[in-house]
């Protein structure tokens, strides 16, 4: 989605994959008790990836791309490219991987099977990076399916019946989606060859659409349905609430960056960089996508209201929030596109904060129900503050990050001539407030009775309210939520980058 300034052949995209692939391979071979090695490798890999991203941002913003490719079968190459949009997504995954790794190290301290956990955790990030860097549909598909497979052991990690059943549901949905996607990818590849993602749409696809609109629509539908499973668009969302049985860091990663974002990212790629907005619009794909996304936004919020389990409520909230991305991608207005793109990052940052906090409540206080949260704010002020920032951000309160995505989405909806977007966003915001504010209120409310206060005063006071490795990631991401909102005007802020990427779709 960037202006074609220059494309350099380079090994860097491959190295970016290896920063998590190599640690994964070594971690699998480590013994359970080699904690120091495992921690070092995890952090080194995560830091290296962040380092690559930071180093690449200025040249990519200037329009330079790095590209690595390798023949796979005759006529089809595997391609990795760092264009602006891919780097945007890699930046999110690299950053959140780093904090989630720290969180997970603290969370799983002393738990069994950590080598397996962190090995697959790293593979999960490798797959996400691959999805981001994929330069054509086949490469995308390869990593998309890999992500499905390597996430399974993470969801099933605890081995309880619930965990195994949740993981099975997850697999059934995502593999089903993968098969639909595969059908679409093969069909398109046979017809137009292995086309590479191009800002504003691929010419060959546009020609095919002009030539055989019916076939192209069918292909587009297959691709979008395949992506929608991971993006949890109703009615393909059923796996997400059940996958909540995973350990907290996995839920955090799943909801913020890995699986659901892969779906959302894929939808944007297909609509903007494969078909192009005008072609997708002519084929009638956009209104349908927008309608499903709009419905999902409201539906997810309503379902979230009814959940007492904190993680479940967050899960339904994810279903709702993710569809902002799909909705924005389906609207033909630069502001809406930028809103969709920036929401990929903002939602990730906010949701990961909330999940970190949910994990903290569960670990430190043993609380997983919203009804039990009353008064926790007194005992865990920093956690509660982080949760509050995340919640208010989700509602869209200025100057937090959520506002910077909702406002342009609403304006873009008006620009695009789809005024119905506005009531959807308003209703959704009201619902967000309705399911988040009671939680926040409960957190800060004084305890209802003396007994509970006495009980909570029982354990000896620690210097920190929670283990540092769990607490600081939540605080840092909460601070980022605030920072991304306040500093939206900075050249390298997510919003500025999103605006720049969005321009590419309208040339």
């Amino acid at each position: 989605m960037t202006p074609e300034a220059s494309v350099d052949y380079s090994i860097v995209p491959l190295l970016m994959l290896l920063t998590s692939l190599i640690p994964a391979g070594i971690i699998f071979c480590l013994r359970e008790d080699q904690v120091r090695w495992r921690t070092t490798l995890n952090l080194a890999g995560a830091l290296a990836k962040v380092g690559f991203v930071v180093a690449l941002i200025p040249p990519v913003v200037a329009g330079d791309k790095l590209r690595a490719s390798m023949p796979w079968v005759p006529g089809v190459d595997l391609v990795l490219v760092t264009d602006a949009f891919s780097l945007f997504f890699v930046a999110l995954s690299a950053g959140l991987w780093l904090v989630t790794t720290i969180y997970a190290i603290g969370y799983l301290e002393g738990a069994p099977n950590r080598s397996r956990f962190f090995g697959f955790f790293s593979l999960c990030v490798t797959a996400t990076t691959g999805i981001a860097l994929a330069g054509n549909l086949i490469t995308f598909l390869l990593f998309f399916e890999m992500l499905t497979l390597v996430t399974y052991p993470l969801v099933a990690h605890r081995g309880t019946k619930d965990a195994l059943d949740g993981a099975r549901t997850y697999l059934a949905y995502t593999l089903g989606g993968g098969v639909v996607l595969l059908a679409g990818v093969v069909w398109l590849t046979v017809l137009v060859g292995p086309v590479e993602f191009t800002a504003g749409g691929v010419e060959a696809v546009a020609e095919l659409a002009a030539d055989r609109p019916g076939v192209t629509t069918a292909i587009g539908a297959l691709l979008l349905i395949g992506m929608s499973v991971k993006a949890a668009i109703v009615p393909l969302h059923g796996w997400l609430p059940v996958a909540m049985v995973a350990p907290a860091p996995v839920s955090a990663l799943l909801h913020a960056v890995a699986v659901v974002k892969a779906g959302a990212f894929g939808i944007v790629r297909v609509v903007h960089d494969l078909f192009g907005l005008s072609v997708a619009g002519d084929l009638g794909l956009l209104p349908v996508l927008a309608a499903f996304a709009g419905f999902t936004i409201v539906y997810g919020s309503i379902r979230a209201l009814a959940q007492d389990d904190l993680k479940k409520r967050l899960a339904y909230s994810t279903i709702s929030q993710l569809s902002y991305v799909a909705l924005g991608a389906a609207l033909v207005a630069p502001l809406a596109t930028a809103g969709a793109l920036v929401h990929i990052v903002h939602q990730g940052m906010m949701k990961i904060t909330l999940f970190f906090c949910a994990g903290l409540f569960a670990e430190v206080q043993g609380i997983s129900k919203i009804s039990q949260l009353t008064g926790v704010g007194r005992r865990m002020p920093l956690t509660a503050a982080a949760f509050t920032v995340g919640s208010l951000g989700m509602i869209g309160l200025p100057p937090l990050a959520g506002f910077v995505s909702k406002w342009p989405l609403a304006l873009g909806g008006l620009d695009a001539g789809t005024a119905w977007v506005l009531p959807v966003l308003i209703v959704s915001t009201l619902l967000n407030a309705a399911y988040f504010l009671p939680v926040v209120y409960a957190l800060w409310r004084p305890e209802p009775d003396e007994q509970a206060t006495a009980a909570s005063a029982g354990p000896p006071r620690r210097r920190l309210e929670a283990p540092a490795a769990l607490l600081w990631p939540a605080v840092v991401t909460a601070a980022m939520v605030l920072f991304m909102g306040v500093a939206a005007g900075w050249t390298y802020s997510p919003w500025s980058l999103a605006e720049m990427i969005a321009e590419g779709s309208y040339r």
Partner: protein
């Protein structure tokens, strides 16, 4: 480089070594057998490396066809030879590590005879030699199944009957070819055969005969009994390699002489339908099974269905042909890994019942990983070798406009993944399992061998370009004129 004189060695060396191994006292037969089999494997790999992308041909003792015996190795043969050598070597290492998983010292001479037969089927250039080599394979395979002990006797006998019936049907086809053309050399016979009822009968007989040998639905009932009854190392060879002998013979003859007449098309469609039913039937039965080895065996029944579908898909399509051959290779690697891994788990837990395997993922993670990766490759999911095959076949489906196979290919993959997931799921720790040790400690090599085969499936899945190119240039890939 061109050393066609090595071709007969592929058959004669293992036969000779088999005789030597049989004469060695039982006590040291394992060592001798392992050395002999490793030599055979090294020879196979060496020949494959020397052939590279070329093709060799040798008339034995200078007697040209139709009088003498001609041995040929083209790109496809090379691919098969490579599969036999790689899986054969892996199985050799595995069997040498734990005699109880190979069925005792008698395994070694039989295994060498089988290996000779497999190499022979691949390089034989005329129908009679193919027939003889197939017989060698069948007899050795039956004897190997019988090594599974008392409970294997009846499956082995059944396997023998089925194998002989298959051979007889094929022999009849060979006789028809000779009666019609006066030659048994495959290219000469192909050129001389005229379209007509005889040609159709030859194809039908070959299809039936090889269908029996490769357990194509509805002639499959012997396989889910025979393969699990055999020792683990033998099961792996049977599923990964012996089945493929039938497949390659069927394909060679089919793509050599099939013409576009209506009767032949009906045959092709019938084979395809049988294949499609096999995919679903085998998958469903695997899902219903509650023991590892029967699951893997039913999985083979399902995968054989694809080999029959290839008869329709590879017809004049380079993508279909390379997809078919890669499917054979991918299935060979993955199925060997899967059976060996299943054998290791059965060894460690004293049973292959799924309900008894919980905790295996922590006790022997490499074995479970091998099982899972092999299943992913069989299911045709990226980034594995099986996916390359599935991709090529899907491309062929769409290129040829035979879109109805898409559903079979995709849903069959999901079924495959379903029973793989069921196997892996059974190995997860139940809460509190972590302190319980595996009943029997697993020698590292029993976990490493299947794991390496599984990793090879991934490596070939990513770096497949050269191989696909090699196969796409094969004469058969051009299809019928």
């Amino acid at each position: 480089m061109n050393y066609p004189a090595l071709l007969p060695a592929l058959v004669l060396l293992p036969l000779l070594l088999a005789a030597v191994t049989a004469l060695v006292p039982r006590g040291s037969r394992r060592t001798a057998g392992a050395a002999a089999a490793s030599t055979t494997g090294a020879l196979g790999i060496g020949v494959v490396a020397l052939i590279g992308g070329g093709s060799w041909e040798l008339a034995l003792a200078g007697w040209e066809a139709p009088l003498g015996i001609t041995l040929r190795a083209d790109g496809t043969s090379t691919a098969f030879l490579a599969l036999v050598a790689v899986v054969g070597t892996a199985v050799t290492v595995y069997a040498a590590a734990e005699p109880s998983l190979a069925g005792g010292p008698d395994f070694w001479p039989l295994w060498l005879v089988l290996w000779a037969g497999l190499n022979g089927v691949v390089v034989a250039g005329d129908l009679f030699t193919i027939y003889v080599m197939l017989e060698l394979v069948t007899i050795a395979a039956v004897a190997l199944v019988a090594l599974g002990g008392r409970s294997a006797a009846s499956p082995a006998l059944r396997y023998l009957f089925v194998g002989v019936v298959g051979s007889l049907l094929f022999l009849l086809a060979v006789a028809l070819v000779y009666a019609e053309t006066g030659t048994l050399d495959l290219p000469q016979a192909t050129a001389a055969l005229e379209p007509g009822p005889v040609l159709t009968s030859i194809l039908a007989l070959t299809l039936l005969g090889m269908g029996t040998k490769m357990a194509l639905f509805p002639l499959h009932a012997w396989l889910p009994v025979a393969h699990p009854a055999a020792p683990a190392a033998v099961s792996a060879v049977l599923s990964a390699l012996v089945i493929k002998a039938g497949v390659i013979v069927l394909w060679r003859i089919w793509f050599g002489i099939a013409d576009g007449t209506a009767a032949v098309q009906v045959l092709g469609v019938a084979a395809g339908i049988a294949g499609a039913v096999a995919v679903f039937w085998g998958g469903a039965m695997a899902l219903r099974s509650s023991r590892l080895k029967p699951i893997v065996a039913y999985s083979t029944v399902a995968q054989v269905g694809y080999f029959a579908i290839v008869l329709s898909l590879a017809d004049g399509s380079a993508a279909g042909w390379s997809g078919g051959v890669i499917l054979v290779l991918a299935h060979g690697l993955a199925k060997a890994a899967m059976f060996l891994a299943a054998g290791t788990l059965a060894f460690a837990y004293g049973t292959d019942r799924l309900s008894r395997l919980h905790g295996a993922i922590s006790h022997t993670p490499m074995t479970v990983a091998a099982l899972a990766i092999a299943g992913i490759s069989l299911a045709g999911l990226p980034p594995t070798f099986g996916f390359v095959a599935k991709w090529q076949l899907l491309v062929a489906t769409i290129e040829q406009g035979e879109w109805w196979w898409i559903g079979v290919l995709l849903l069959g993959g999901l079924l495959t993944f379903g029973y793989t997931a069921a196997m892996v799921r059974a190995t997860f720790n139940r809460p509190g399992d972590d302190e319980v040790p595996a009943p029997y400690p697993v020698p590292a090599i029993l976990a490493v061998v299947p794991f390496i085969l599984a990793i090879a499936s991934v490596a070939f899945g990513v770096f497949s370009a050269g191989l696909v190119d090699l196969l796409a240039e094969d004469p058969t890939a051009r299809g019928r004129p």
